[in-house]
Symmetry: C2
Subunit: 218 residues, 2 copies
DNA sequence: ATATATTTTTAGGTTAGTCTAAAAATTTTA
DNA sequence: TAAAATTTTTAGACTAACCTAAAAATATAT
């Protein structure tokens, strides 16, 4: 069994491994968990003892298959709880993350199974992120950052890169939701801002926004 | 804000105060929490600093009004989660307690409000225990242990005194559920066992059972 | 290639929450 | 009411999870 802190380290490493095949550096983990590198070294040694990570001094860490499974299960719980909060308890998508950070640590296999059933086996969370199955497998779909689309390309909005409350509220205000069709009408070389069409409305958005929205091209 | 451990101490004291007006002894708390008296003394000092209990050496502790409110809120969360698990997630009444012990510590006022609404503002948990309102008030009803009923008295089964999984499963097997009408047909002086009628079935139950079932006389 | 900068680890400390053993206070018994 | 038993507190230690500061290793720049 893993402590709350150990679970958070595993999850952090799991998320960091999505972008790379190399070992995850002490500093990267420290940054993600808002802690100190020395604390990370301590914890990594413990996780290594428990055989959830492989660690060689100065080389960074990698999750073992066992570690990946543990981590994926925490992510699974996190995302299922987020769906539950939005679908059943009237939370908005910018309110669920912090509560899910707590709920993901509840230990009860039956509970999460029943939540999954109750929700009708959802495949994605409210932010468009895929929900791992019980074995830890995830179904990744082909998606591109809106900022990489060319003029006249279009697709469906399927996810966010930044799921901070501020960004999500901003999207709400602009009427940008998952599932909406978006077409790039103009790209400004000057500041990389875009003019897009969504719901037959023209919208001008900055590069920062376009860099945090995922589109499934169509 | 209170730690998980502090919350468990507050809840333990809260439950122990139901049976008495006197200060709650160090040993009683240690027994309830399955810990050592010395640990209790340590924690009590901390809780006293935080003004949730009043403590004088060797005199036991009492919750302050503030402490009572905190404790009642944890009990509220515990019982609402138990209702949720039974009503919405197909848990049986003997499976919910341990999960609720974890869920009661989740910090999100909105979450518990929404669960309350989602459940239709239940007043009692699956074991017949009253759910405190947001201010910490509970609605106590007049109830008697089945063992105290006289021959030919009857009433509705409204609660259990022992909510261990073993006892609850035993009740399931015998067909004894909350809400059922129970009539005492016989009382044996010899071993204080009872013959009762429930659903037009005659049942013989030991004093130990009768001592753990609450009846609202009618 | 050597000096400089950065990253990582080690060493030593802190706090929360627990424990055992012993001392002190209170309660019970005779 | 004095001795015995019990309860409670204190003293000192331990572990998990952090921290700061310094040392060691690695990476970068000239
Ligand atoms: Mn989240
Ligand atoms: Mn999410
Ligand atoms: Mn319970
Ligand atoms: Mn209950």
């Amino acid at each position: 069994m893993f402590t709350l802190s150990e679970e958070n380290y595993l999850k952090a490493i799991y998320h960091l491994e999505i972008d790379t095949d190399k070992g995850i550096s002490t500093n990267a983990i420290a940054k993600k968990l808002i802690t100190k590198a020395s604390s990370v070294t301590d914890m990594i040694k413990k996780l290594s003892e428990k055989e959830v990570v492989v660690y060689k001094k100065y080389q960074g860490v990698k999750l073992t298959n066992f570690g990946k499974k543990i981590a994926a299960n925490i992510v699974r719980k996190h995302r299922l709880w987020e769906v539950f909060l939005v679908e059943k308890l009237n939370f908005s998508w910018d309110e669920v993350h912090d509560v899910a950070e707590q709920l993901e640590h509840i230990k009860s296999p039956k509970l999460i199974d029943q939540i999954d059933t109750f929700l009708g086996f959802p495949t994605h969370d409210p932010h468009g992120d895929p929900i791992p199955d019980k074995e830890g497998n995830i179904n990744t779909i082909e998606k591109s950052l809106l900022s990489t689309l060319l003029k006249n390309e279009s697709g469906i909005c399927v996810g966010v890169n930044d799921s901070s409350s501020e960004f999500l509220k901003f999207l709400d205000k602009k009427g940008i939701k998952l599932g909406k069709q978006i077409t790039v009408l103009e790209k400004e070389d000057f500041d990389d801002s875009l003019t897009i069409r969504i719901d037959d409305i023209k919208l001008s958005i900055s590069n920062k926004i376009a860099n945090n929205l995922y589109i499934k091209k169509s």
